[in-house]
Structure formats: structure tokens, C-alpha cells
């Protein structure tokens, strides 16, 4: 006769006996005598390299603190109830808990990524490589944290974000901003992205399905000469990092992605066109042979020298195309579109609705220059990370634009900007007329990653002029 509860009792009881409920690192058979135990422990301590091989894990430590988050500033404050652990798991080169990611939505309409090691369905960091005083414990990230230092992206009308990021030289501990020996590539390519084909560290190609409803992917590679050469130094990559470190937006999509397959059969192959790739490779090979480095893997010192020479050569090539080195890659690098993007349903605004006088106050010259205060009254609100006000200024020594604040703005609120004009900048005279434009940016396209203090870039046709202004510096 069937007895469901009796069978469960026996089955789980057997699991306890087998210690199957314990993590692999806790399933330690009791030694026969004390000397045996001492020998085993001593062996593990000696064998553990300083760079943090994550064998013999011990347990759960204190959670990571919740960072200060304002619900109305930057990416906003996370809604813990939206926090979702994706099924994606990536083995770490040195073993231990796998890498994974959680996505969470915020009060300012952003989707943020929490990337780290996964233990018991929690994402967190490990106490190795100098983090957490090397306590060799797992420290969960709180679900209420918006991104544990990883990127956020503005959501479209359907609540999906579209961005990719590169973290070169991240620690195996998964403590954001720490330095270490991992290359982490992560992104959300949208609900239509089905699978990703990428270049493995051995140079072969592999295909993985995306994870969750945002088309998420995560790659973790060891950071060594070989992978740095492949993913960071190659002149075929849009994000090039001579020292194979730093954080960067991959701009949909960077290394190591070769192709994205979308539902419906569409395929995107980001990167340079074949002729351009051949040209880049030719330049790279020439520079290597000039330095006598051959085609092998370079040492750190050789890499720095080589990338400096390569940059000079690429700059010359860019100039021959009437481009800067930076714009060479931006212009010639094919990116993947935000397939499945749904424009947010925002009430459209017009210049007439936004029109407001701009007040200019030129103050007496200080040792830094002449302060110019620009202020106006907001006629349209900024309610989330999809919109913001922007000022641009063009003058004898000035040509730039910037976002005015990184938070919500209510109608009727006074917005202030402060510029300091140096009338004698360098050897040029900066006296003369300055002309500016205040714009209201309302996104109608994907914005890419938004980080701390940066709310992204405007989507297509997102800019509406609020007012123009000018002033003269005597």
C-alpha cells in the first residue's frame, strides 16, 4: 500500500545519512584519528594558493551591506520583490560555487544586474583574494541592493533593458570593482534574443541559450595572457584595453560574442566587416613583427609596449580615414540592435510645452575663471531614468554638453547649472559670445547601460529644445 509521507520520510532520512543535503565542501568524512585530521587540514592550508583557489569552502558569512540608494536619484532604489535569480550558472576556472546573476527592477525604471557567486539560490561574494579578510565564507548580496556595483539599464515600455558590459580584471571573489584574474562579460539582449555564439578562450566557437525573459548571458574566463590577447587587446574588439582591465559598456555586443540568434530567425553578427577585420589584423601583425614579438603570447611588459605601438599605428590608419581612433571603432563596428524593443508610452512633449525663460548670471572672476549661473524652471517632470534635462554650450573655447542632475525633477522646480569660463584658457583667448541650448531628453530608443551618476544616452529622436540662450564674456 502506498504511503506518500512514509516514503518521503525514508527518502529524506537516507539523504541525511548520505550527507547529500550538505554542500560538496562540507561532506567531509570523519577521520579515523586526530593525527589524520591534522594532516588533512595542514595539507589544505599549504595547498591553497594565494590567488584564492576555492576548494574547501566553509559556510555562509555576513551579508554584503545594502548600499545607500535614493528612490529618486541615479538608477533608483531596487524593488526586492522583483529580484529574480536567473537559472544561468557558469563554472569558475578554479571551482567552488558557480557564477550566476540576479536581475532586479528599480524605482526609476531601470533593470539592474547582480553578478556574483551562487550558493543556495543566493548571489554573493566570497571571502578570498583579500575580500572579507579572506574569511573563506560566502557573503550574500541583499536582494534590496540595486546592482552590487554592476550595471543598470533603462527599461523599455515592456520592462526590458538592453545592454552589455565588460568587467576586465574582476576578482574571483565577485566583489565589484576589486582587481583580480577574471574576465566577466554580461548583458541582457532583450526578450527576442534566443542564443549567443561566442569565442571560447581556446579560439573555438560555442553556442549557449540566453537565460530568462531579458535574453541574459554571462561569461567568466580566467584573465591571463592568452585571454587578454583574445578578448581585450585584439584590434577587432570594440572595447580595447591595453592593460586588460577596467569596466566598460560593450555597446551590444562586445567580446566574446560572435553572433546573436533571435526568435523569428534573425541573426546579428557584431564586429568589424571582413575587409576591416583583415586590415586590422594586418596592422597588428606588422606592429608585432616590428617589435620582434612574433605571434606567441606576450608577457605583461611586452603587451603594454605592443598595445602602445599598435594604438599609434591604428591612430594613423584612423586619421587616413578622417576619423579619430575612438570613432574608428564606433563607426566601423557593427552592433546588434535592440530586437523586441518597445518604445515607452510617455506623453509626448513639445518645445511649446517646455518653453521657459533661461536666467543667466555672470559672476565676478575668481581664480578659477568666470562663474556663469544658468537657471530655469522645469515645465515637464523627470520621473525616471528615461528622461532628463541637458545643457549644451558652444563658445570660443567651449564645446560640450552635459546632463543636468541625475534624479527626478518635478514641474515648477528650478534647475540650476554652473559653468566656469576661463577667459584665458591656455594660450587662447576665450572671450566672446557663448551660445547654449537647454534640451529635454525623452527616450524613444534603448539607452545602453546606465551606471552610477550616468543616466545613459538618448534614444532616437529623444531631444526636445526647451530654450536657447547666449551670453558674452568680456
Amino acid at each position: 500500500m502506498s504511503d506518500y509521507f512514509g516514503d518521503v520520510r525514508v527518502g529524506l532520512g537516507d539523504a541525511v545519512e548520505r550527507q547529500q543535503h550538505l554542500r560538496w565542501y562540507r561532506r567531509v568524512k570523519k577521520p579515523r584519528h586526530t593525527y589524520g585530521l591534522a594532516a588533512v587540514l595542514a595539507g589544505l592550508v599549504v595547498a591553497a594558493p594565494a590567488v584564492g583557489a576555492v576548494t574547501n569552502w566553509f559556510g555562509i558569512g555576513a551579508p554584503n551591506p545594502i548600499p545607500k540608494q535614493s528612490p529618486t536619484q541615479n538608477a533608483g532604489r531596487a524593488f526586492p520583490s522583483t529580484s529574480q535569480l536567473l537559472p544561468i550558472r557558469v563554472s569558475d576556472p578554479q571551482g567552488g560555487p558557480p557564477w550566476g546573476m540576479r536581475i532586479v527592477q528599480t524605482t526609476r525604471g531601470a533593470t539592474c544586474l547582480q553578478v556574483g557567486r551562487v550558493e543556495d539560490r543566493q548571489v554573493g561574494s566570497l571571502g578570498i583574494d583579500g575580500s572579507w579578510h579572506d574569511d573563506r565564507l560566502f557573503h550574500p548580496f541583499p536582494r534590496a541592493a540595486e546592482g552590487n556595483g554592476f550595471d543598470c539599464g533603462t527599461e523599455d515600455g515592456a520592462g526590458h533593458a538592453f545592454f552589455d558590459s565588460e568587467y576586465m580584471g574582476l576578482s574571483a571573489s565577485a566583489t565589484a570593482w576589486s582587481t583580480g584574474n577574471r574576465l566577466v562579460y554580461v548583458g541582457v539582449l532583450g526578450p527576442e534574443a534566443k542564443s549567443i555564439t561566442y569565442e571560447t578562450p581556446s579560439g573555438s566557437t560555442a553556442t549557449e541559450r540566453t537565460s530568462g525573459t531579458d535574453g541574459a548571458y554571462l561569461f567568466v574566463f580566467p584573465r591571463n595572457n592568452k585571454t587578454c590577447k583574445l578578448y581585450a587587446e585584439s584590434p577587432n574588439r570594440i572595447v580595447r584595453s591595453p592593460d586588460c582591465s577596467g569596466v566598460s559598456g560593450g555597446e551590444m555586443v562586445g567580446a566574446p560574442v560572435l553572433a546573436v540568434d533571435y526568435r523569428g530567425g534573425q541573426v546579428c553578427r557584431p564586429g568589424l566587416t571582413a575587409p576591416m577585420r583583415a586590415r586590422m589584423n594586418a596592422i597588428a601583425n606588422t606592429e608585432r613583427s616590428k617589435l620582434g614579438f612574433g605571434t606567441g603570447v606576450l608577457s605583461s611588459a611586452q603587451r603594454i609596449l605592443y598595445t602602445a605601438e599598435l594604438d599609434r599605428a591604428l591612430s594613423r590608419f584612423a586619421a587616413s580615414q578622417h576619423l579619430t581612433l575612438a570613432s574608428l571603432f564606433v563607426e566601423r563596428f557593427g552592433r546588434c540592435p535592440a530586437v523586441g524593443y518597445v518604445a515607452p508610452k510617455e506623453k509626448p512633449v513639445t518645445s511649446a510645452m517646455l518653453a521657459t525663460p533661461i536666467h543667466i548670471k555672470i559672476k565676478p572672476q575668481s581664480k578659477w575663471g568666470i562663474p556663469v549661473d544658468i537657471s530655469f524652471t522645469a515645465r515637464a517632470p523627470v520621473k525616471n531614468s528615461s528622461s532628463w534635462y541637458e545643457a549644451s554650450l558652444v563658445g570660443p573655447c567651449e564645446d560640450g554638453s552635459g546632463q543636468l542632475g541625475y534624479g527626478n525633477i518635478r514641474v515648477g522646480q528650478t534647475i540650476r547649472d554652473n559653468q566656469i569660463i576661463n577667459p584665458n584658457y591656455g594660450h587662447s583667448s576665450c572671450k566672446g559670445v557663448y551660445r547654449g541650448i537647454i534640451s529635454y531628453i525623452q527616450n524613444s530608443g534603448p539607452t545602453g547601460a546606465v551606471g552610477e551618476g550616468a543616466t545613459g544616452r538618448a534614444g532616437k529622436d529623444g531631444s526636445v529644445i526647451v530654450s536657447r540662450f547666449s551670453f558674452k564674456i568680456h
Partner: protein, 185 residues
């Protein structure tokens, strides 16, 4: 008496963490009625409730090394696991089985006789650990989330769309009611 029972049960959980099969069987026998009754009330389906209860005990095995008596009794700990499992299950539209998979529990067939067994087990005296169920839904929700799931007042307020002070009051009133209920018994 209640404190002594709590100490004994906490010690049993610690022994489960160390691989003691008998300790698990004692805890299972003692708390299955509570978990099953809660699951039945939340799901309204005997087969689903049994499925959920099995998953809760499997998850409890895995979580046993992390159980801390000062944060709550074994009963409240198990109900916290049950609540989390049910939430995950609702999200994926099926009862979670990740814990059972992890501990290698093969699927167990639910037969005709087991329907009656669910009723039988669920009707057993709830004891002190069933006290939570005597609270009104609003107080039970607040106490469960704050005391069992250890969520902050701020988080709960955000989820339930009310102010933090309202949640604080509900938790305080709920705990007061539980204390007086305990004293009466």
C-alpha cells in the same frame, strides 16, 4: 516547557546538519502536521500540499547548517521555508522540486489513501507552533514576513503598499497577541 522543547528541537536540527538520520525523522514526525496544515490552507489542494510539504522538508535538510535558534523556533523556521517555496512555486506555476532533486529524493507516488492521510495529519493539534494561524491575515502576514522571513519593515511596507509605521504596529500587535495566546494555554 515550551523553551525546553525549543531547545531540544534546535539540537535535533543541529544533529540533522551533522548527518543524523534519527534526528531528521523526529523533526519530520513532529512538524509534518504543522507544515501540511499550512500548505493545505495556502493551496487548498491535498496533493499539492503534500508535494509542497515534501519539498519544504528537503529544503530544511539543506538549510539545516544555517538554522539559528535565536532567530526563531524550528516551527517558524519551517513555515518560513514553506512560504518561500510557495512563492517560488507560484512564480513558476508548479511546485518547486529543486531541493528534492538536490538531495536525490526520487519522485514519490501520491495514492488514493494519501488523500485521507493528508486530512488526518492536518487535523492534528497544531500545538504552540500553529499559533501564527490564530492571527488575522494582516497581522499574520506582517509577523511572518518580519519574524520568520527576516525582511525589513521597509521592504514589507513597500510590498504591501503601506507605511513602515503601519507594519511596525502590525508586527507589535501580532507578537503581543501571540504572547497572550501562549500564556492562556
Amino acid at each position: 516547557m515550551a523553551d525546553h522543547r525549543a531547545d531540544v528541537d534546535a539540537a535535533l536540527v543541529a544533529r540533522i546538519a551533522g548527518g543524523d538520520k534519527a534526528a531528521f525523522e523526529t523533526i519530520y514526525d513532529r512538524y509534518l502536521p504543522l507544515v501540511l496544515r499550512w500548505s493545505l490552507r495556502e493551496t487548498g489542494n491535498r496533493e499539492v500540499a503534500a508535494d509542497l510539504a515534501a519539498e519544504v522538508f528537503a529544503a530544511a535538510l539543506i538549510a539545516s547548517p544555517r538554522y539559528r535558534p535565536r532567530k526563531g523556533s524550528v516551527g517558524t523556521w519551517l513555515l518560513g521555508i514553506a512560504r518561500n517555496k510557495l512563492r517560488e512555486s507560484r512564480r513558476s506555476n508548479r511546485i518547486e522540486d529543486s531541493a528534492r532533486k538536490r538531495v536525490g529524493l526520487d519522485s514519490v507516488e501520491f495514492g488514493e489513501a494519501d488523500f485521507d492521510r493528508v486530512d488526518e495529519l492536518a487535523s492534528l493539534d497544531p500545538g504552540v507552533f500553529g499559533l501564527l494561524e490564530t492571527l488575522s491575515p494582516a497581522l499574520r502576514e506582517a509577523v511572518s514576513q518580519h519574524v520568520i522571513e527576516e525582511r525589513s519593515y521597509e521592504e514589507i511596507a513597500q510590498q504591501l503598499s503601506c507605511s513602515e509605521s503601519v507594519i511596525r504596529q502590525r508586527v507589535s500587535r501580532g507578537l503581543r497577541a501571540l504572547r497572550s495566546e501562549l500564556e492562556e494555554r
